[in-house]
Symmetry: D2
């Protein structure tokens, strides 16, 4: 990798000239502006840099994902959403239904959750389903999400299912989710990044950690560093669970990147009985939060009912989480 | 699954009324028109159908992907592209570079391939790369592809990387490819389907056959049946090859669906030495074609050089393919 | 499944007669004796039972692994080894080198560990290596293990590499380990089970939970219930870690079986930096212990050095484990 | 890797002295004798070699599995069994039931197969089953196999389930099979190798090609080079088939090793309908044979019935195989 730093007073035409050379050589490059200078970030181009007129500085380094890497950014990044933050020594809970099936159910859920002190509401709007014949989301769900979240003063997160839905989704949601199946949909990563809202990036269920961090890098290159990684289980041969929660992903991510990481025990497990064990394991392993599916009536849910907690189960789990957090000096947000 | 057939002379407001009930009940449904009648296809809704005024017919059946299933369409579908067709007892070759790096290389490759009788040219334009710092495609590649394909009278296939690139890609390409990483990008599946051009649907490297067929069903539901399935290897623990070519996918797909299936030995293998063995195995297992990466100078390719054949290697392979095809009464197209 | 209970005073020839019928019908059956009666356990055989002369009782049930299942044995099993036990609300540590390379190193390690209160010493004797050219174990290692364990009053666990090594291994070791590669070596499972010593059963790195429990059932059918399950990571596509620790295996195993389960974070991770996170996550998820590789000089270890903790690292980890255990009311054994 | 060649007239005490040094340094070494000299093969030991008195020769090279590697043995190995051979440009069929359930069924099957010209009979004796409650094999099956094979002049192959069964199995079988679950049971590999009979080594369903070749190396190091590799499918996330046949394993194995490789389409597929496609693909990809499960009445088989062909299906398949073989100049043995 190479970073070419141009002096602050560089003329626009020289930047343009440098760009042309990179394009001609088919090397992707990313222009970054800060207060002191303009720079180019690319995988190679030392010879190009040396051929440029004027006093450019060249930094060479070997890092596959420099922007999200902890090497250049040793302290933990903090991603804030209203009054809560995803940060060190804290654990933030996001909860809500898989899908916003109708107004009553999201309202009941939000009322229940906000009563328990939960500040961020999840709720599927346009759903990414394996089968076109499965429930695809309620067409009014974005409206409902907005109305209800306001009513209960909650922040919201929902998935951006496609580029064409980005605008309407971004109008409503406080945090934009990239779903597991879109984790390497690079155009969507870039377009969502450009919204300048916090992004919840789910790990692709068939992606290595390195690929996961590179997807985050696509977002970071848009200038948006408000990225929260989410480990949600990977696909393996095991079928006692829907996916296999890769608990090691948490310490690995914390070592490799400066981004917060949370877990999604619901999609990892695919069954509600083991969710408490997974959430607590995740907290102790260093995760900064969890996103949990909660439904007023899981038996009749239109999607992911088997892995959704009912209100009573969630309240019990919350008690356990708070007890554990207190015991190990983690702040619940 | 349920199919509700309305009589041909059904009034528009009754269709609208039925639609409203389905929406209210959050059941996705698909309206299909043919010469004789209008129908609704949905996963459930018998009670709704029975409650409708007028003489509707109800068909119930149990099939996860009725439109692409062979059960309702016993004969093989034929997908045509110019003078060639993907059909029974034939084997159609698609060849070309991973990326269109510049005009000269695509021109040389097309000249070489068309000289050998190859009729369909592949060429990456906007590339889906794991790293944002890897070559992302030449910005003029669509122009080059169009110009060169015309010059050598070849048909073209290239990947639609994102919804925002669909329009410009569809203007040029004769067949639109859904890449492996976008195999469950349902918005893209739907939008590409609506173009009414043949679609080359790559299997997600993390998708089961059932998921693969359901992705095809998303396309078929747009009214576009010109779908070619492409087995390109799945991700496993084995690392002697880039992916593991699932050869059984061919007979399974032929049993389950009426769509043509081809193989992509290049991405499956990730190495050029075993490509001949894979192509021939695919042909004998029943595939109707193959898409093969060919590059004038693989050692210096900007992407996937290790798995690209040079001209001499491709010509040798073509000879072997033709010999085998002749021996087993397969027509090479 | 079927259980046929014969009255206590059944004549031997009737048992023999029943056995003959099962053999003739090719149904495997297992004879179990207890104070009250003799019984046969088999997958089927109701008709046979009904045809037998005399008053047999028949129990039918649907459980793939009745002996290890929690359904017929609701309380947790306790497996004891000297003064320590693997039991509820406790966490037992097993530590030691991957291989006993020489006498000095096992002596130093045992002295260090026993000084910290560790009661069970692990140490590889005959090693199961992927390559025949890798270190296969020191030929005197069983002697060393015996001598050193006695000196420091520790209990020992080591792998039984093959049936031919069972006798000499069982003479020395207090607990016999079935390694991951032998998890479905059914003859070894049976022969090790018959030793009547506690068995540490590692999960096969490519085995589902169901297969894991069935391997335990093979052991239990020998009449040996002193089985400790060990989750040690499964093989997936991820390569940031040597294996993927399946943290969900812990709550799943605790629900399905009555056996204690521990984790092996060393072989799961394959790297020492994330071992603390994994051990703590395992404890909180409900594991009853951990087996950890410790080496006096990991950089020069003859096997698995990258995943072995040095003395200082282990002591630091032990402090963290004890702090966590105290906070959540787990007793460290 | 290093090979130390001692002169032919080396004194036994010097060999012993060298051995002692290797043992002391914990380096596994293998003594090989041929007409000209005695040699030591080990992963390292140049300094030891140089310290030895007398004129030893030292060869250094970098190959993980020198004995089975094609590099030191460029021509294909031929493994013979009676009148048939596994060799270049030929395809040898092994067929028979999963298990020898009783004498009549193995007799009928052998009669049928020998009538079709099949020369090698497979038949499970002691079976390796996931569940102890599944059929474990008929206790007389080895006798039956011997008697029937003699009667119909067929050669036999059966699995050696454990070390304790080796002697009785080796008395009967002409070729000894190492099953998939025992592929890394190193003691069994060594003991079976020492029998000096041809070995059919199944790939572990969880093993990489490199691990597969290293298992073969364990056998080769016993001095037995009559090893046939068998690709039988690997475990992946796909569940339309029991395993995923890794067709690329064939050309990879042929490039890397000099050993014959055959396929087992029955265990790969786990369903009979796609077996013809897999066998033919395997032949064209370069396999030197196939082992196929055939049963007189698959619906009532005690094991693996779903993947067994009945007589009519096998005869039809054999016709197709012969037609294909003739078309591509492969000799059917
Ligand atoms: Mn969900
Ligand atoms: Mn080890």
């Amino acid at each position: 990798m190479i970073k070419i730093l141009f002096p602050k007073d560089i003329k626009q035409e020289l930047i343009f000239h440098a760009s042309e050379i990179f394009k001609e050589k088919n090397i992707p490059f990313y222009v970054q502006h800060n207060e002191e200078n303009v720079s180019f970030l690319a995988s190679e181009g030392k010879e190009i840099a040396e051929s440029l007129v004027g006093s450019v500085q060249i930094q060479e380094f070997s890092l596959p994902y420099p922007l999200v890497s902890r090497k250049f950014h040793p302290e933990d990044s903090v991603v804030s959403l209203g009054s809560v933050s995803f940060q060190k020594d804290s654990f933030t809970l996001i909860a809500g239904p898989c899908s916003i099936e109708n107004k009553a159910m999201i309202s009941d859920t939000a009322q229940f959750l906000s009563g328990l002190g939960i500040k961020i509401l999840r709720g599927g709007t346009y759903k990414c389903r394996t089968s076109p014949y499965s429930f695809q989301g309620n067409e009014h769900s974005l409206e409902y999400l907005q109305e209800i979240a306001r009513k209960f003063s909650m922040k919201t997160v929902t998935e951006v299912l496609g580029e064409d839905l980005l605008e309407e989704t971004a109008k409503v949601a406080d945090m934009l989710q990239i779903g597991s199946r879109n984790s390497q949909n690079v155009r969507l990563l870039q377009k969502v990044g450009m919204q300048k809202k916090p992004v919840l990036l789910k790990r692709g269920f068939m992606n290595t950690m390195q690929e996961f961090f590179l997807s985050a890098e696509y977002i970071a290159l848009t200038g948006n560093n408000n990225i929260i990684l989410c480990e949600r289980g990977i696909r393996t041969f095991e079928n006692a669970t829907r996916n296999t929660l890769d608990i090691a992903a948490i310490p690995v991510a914390k070592k490799e990147t400066h981004l917060p990481i949370i877990i999604d025990p619901s999609h990892a497990a695919g069954r509600r009985d083991i969710i408490p064990a997974l959430v607590k394991a995740g907290m102790v392993a260093g995760a900064q939060g969890a996103i949990i599916e909660v439904h007023p009536d899981p038996e009749h849910a239109l999607s992911d009912g088997k892995q959704s907690l009912n209100f009573q189960e969630f309240e019990k789990l919350l008690g356990e989480i708070r007890t554990l957090a207190q015991a190990i000096n983690i702040q619940i947000l």
